[in-house]
């Protein structure tokens, strides 16, 4: 009995060990060799530990940023970073094991729904499923769910999203790509469909509708070539300007012997380093689990339609990606200043979300409303994808998250489903 207690109290409470054991079980079920089972399990555990290390670095930098922002602007400045939310939820909040199990449950529900309904979509973007698992677990926990219920409800909701989002996007994707055998698997679909709707309303109609693709635009974004460099391009001025507003007297209390502006610069780099380390951990963590899932899913669901990451659409409408990126950035900057007027937190713009979500949304806007639709729809989309995460800030704050909010709007929608529907229902009964 004491051995069992020791295992439960000291081993299974360690999220990294539980996650490694889950991976081990998966590898054994796939009849992998002993060597593969051992290396796969260890890599998964290593991935979790690396992710934790990345999270600590991010939190350190965000705590600093929170202090200087509040001092400088007398309000809360929130950095939209799903990585920061995931890292804090898995480590500081101790939800790592539940998130990992929900992640697996989403896979299983995705397969079940695709196998037994006419919606044959299998969501192949593993990282996006991890973000979805993070949000359903965090908000399920906040709504009062625990243990198996937390995981099953999260798995079910995530699984429904994994099928429903590609299904909702498919009528548009079919028109964009001209084929029906590939789908879009990116948890920003609510925003894409929203932009398509706005563009349809305000965009060009009939003969007046001109496609962005008829224009000549510069085709490439050299400043966005590297994920981490483009993060730096945003974070560094943000930190330095904020430190300048906070003033030398206050900022120096945090920077020790280092000059306060230099310290702000180094802290902004620390944030980028944190994201770099965290994502390296995510890759290690998912490296073993995701291919196994995909193999099982594809074999269990005959005629599966793979839902791929958003770059799948870029080749079909490259100009719309540029227009979408620029207009979404403008929309999120407008929202940054407008939302605090209505008592919401200030959400700082995120370059990468604006590029991937904005770029893809631009394709949808151009499809339904041509140039006019893509431009107006893009700005409204930028506002929309900033507004939704702003609605979560109060909940994140009350749970102890530091100065961050989620990005991908489908995961935010799932979170709002918990906050506005499931939570109140649970409390009512």
């Amino acid at each position: 009995m004491s051995v069992v207690n020791f295992i439960i109290e000291n081993i299974l409470t360690q999220a990294s060990v539980t996650i490694a054991l889950i991976a081990m079980l998966g590898l054994i079920l796939q009849k992998k060799s002993t060597g593969q089972v051992i290396s796969g399990s260890l890599k998964t555990m290593l991935g979790f530990m690396v992710l934790s290390a990345g999270s600590s670095i991010i939190v350190g930098s965000l705590v600093y940023f929170g202090h200087i922002f509040t001092e400088g602007f007398h309000m809360q400045g929130i950095i939209p970073s799903i990585e920061a939310i995931n890292g804090q939820a898995m480590n500081e909040l101790g939800l790592g094991r539940d998130i990992a199990l929900t992640f697996l449950a989403i896979f299983v529900f995705n397969i079940i729904i695709a196998r037994f309904t006419k919606w044959k979509y299998i969501f192949l973007t593993g990282q996006a499923i991890l973000w979805m698992a993070t949000m359903t677990t965090v908000f399920g926990y906040f709504a009062g769910l625990r243990g198996v219920a937390l995981i099953l409800v999260g798995g079910f909701i995530g699984g429904v999203f994994a099928v429903a989002m590609p299904a909702i996007a498919q009528p548009f994707v079919r028109k964009i790509t001209g084929m029906d055998d590939i789908a879009l698997g990116h948890f920003c679909t609510v925003g894409y469909v929203f932009e398509a709707g706005v563009a349809k309303l305000v965009g060009g109609k009939g003969e007046k509708k001109k496609s962005v693709e008829d224009l000549k635009l510069p085709a490439q974004f050299e400043f966005l070539q590297d994920t981490y460099l483009s993060l730096m391009v945003v974070m560094t001025p943000l930190y330095i300007i904020t430190a300048a507003f906070a003033g030398e007297k206050f900022a120096s209390t945090l920077s020790g012997d280092t000059n306060y502006l230099m310290f702000a610069f180094l802290q902004s780099i620390q944030f980028v380093v944190g994201v770099y380390v965290l994502l390296a951990g995510v890759r290690l963590l998912l490296g073993e689990i995701v291919p196994a899932f995909r193999g099982i899913a594809m074999r269990l669901v005959p005629n599966a339609i793979p839902a791929l990451d958003c770059p799948v659409l870029f080749p079909f409408s490259p100009n719309a990606v540029i227009v979408g990126f620029i207009t979404t950035t403008i929309g999120s900057i407008i929202a940054m200043f407008v939302l605090p007027v209505f008592g919401l937190a200030m959400i700082l713009p995120g370059m990468l979300t604006a590029f991937f979500a904005g770029g893809t949304a631009g394709i949808f806007g151009n499809l339904t409303g041509g140039i006019r639709g893509a431009i107006i729809g893009g700005v409204v989309h930028g506002f929309f994808i900033t507004l939704l995460p702003a609605l979560l800030v109060t909940t994140f704050n009350s749970m102890g998250f530091v100065n961050a909010t989620a990005t991908d709007v489908d995961t935010v929608t799932a979170a709002l489903l918990y906050a506005w529907l499931i939570g109140p229902l649970l409390k009512a009964f």
Partner: protein, 132 residues
């Protein structure tokens, strides 16, 4: 609800029609193009070589010779990444091969094509972001 079932059965029919429509003359023309371009491709380099490989790949695809098409289109992307018709055709062919591998339960082949599709996403990201 989302318009499923309506268009799905139509598309395979369309593809079959396209294959049937390939006349003897067109087939000969494509074969001539392939042999002519193959002679040309080794003397070219970089972007030009990529373009020729793409043309060869698209011709093979029209002939229904998928493996040869994949081979040429892969060489095109290796020579110079781009997001033209070659890219779109290659992604479509990978997806087709992935579905075939799943049907015959060939896990190894399935993983190979899933990985290749992942790499295509990376190519799309890189070209759009201007990585050379």
């Amino acid at each position: 609800m989302f318009g499923f079932g309506k268009k799905k059965p139509k598309e395979p029919k369309k593809e079959t029609t396209e294959e049937v429509l390939l006349t003897v003359e067109r087939k000969e023309e494509l074969l001539r193009t392939i042999s002519f371009k193959k002679a040309e491709v080794n003397q070219a380099a970089g972007e030009k070589q990529a373009k020729i490989y793409e043309e060869i790949g698209l011709a093979f695809n029209e002939l229904g010779e998928e493996d040869h098409a994949i081979d040429s289109l892969e060489k095109s992307i290796q020579a110079k990444k781009s997001l033209g018709n070659g890219y779109k055709t290659l992604l479509k062919l990978y997806n087709k091969k992935r579905a075939e591998a799943a049907k015959v339960n060939n896990e190894e082949l399935l993983q190979i094509y899933l990985k290749k599709m992942d790499q295509m996403m990376q190519v799309s990201k890189e070209v759009t972001r201007g990585v050379r």
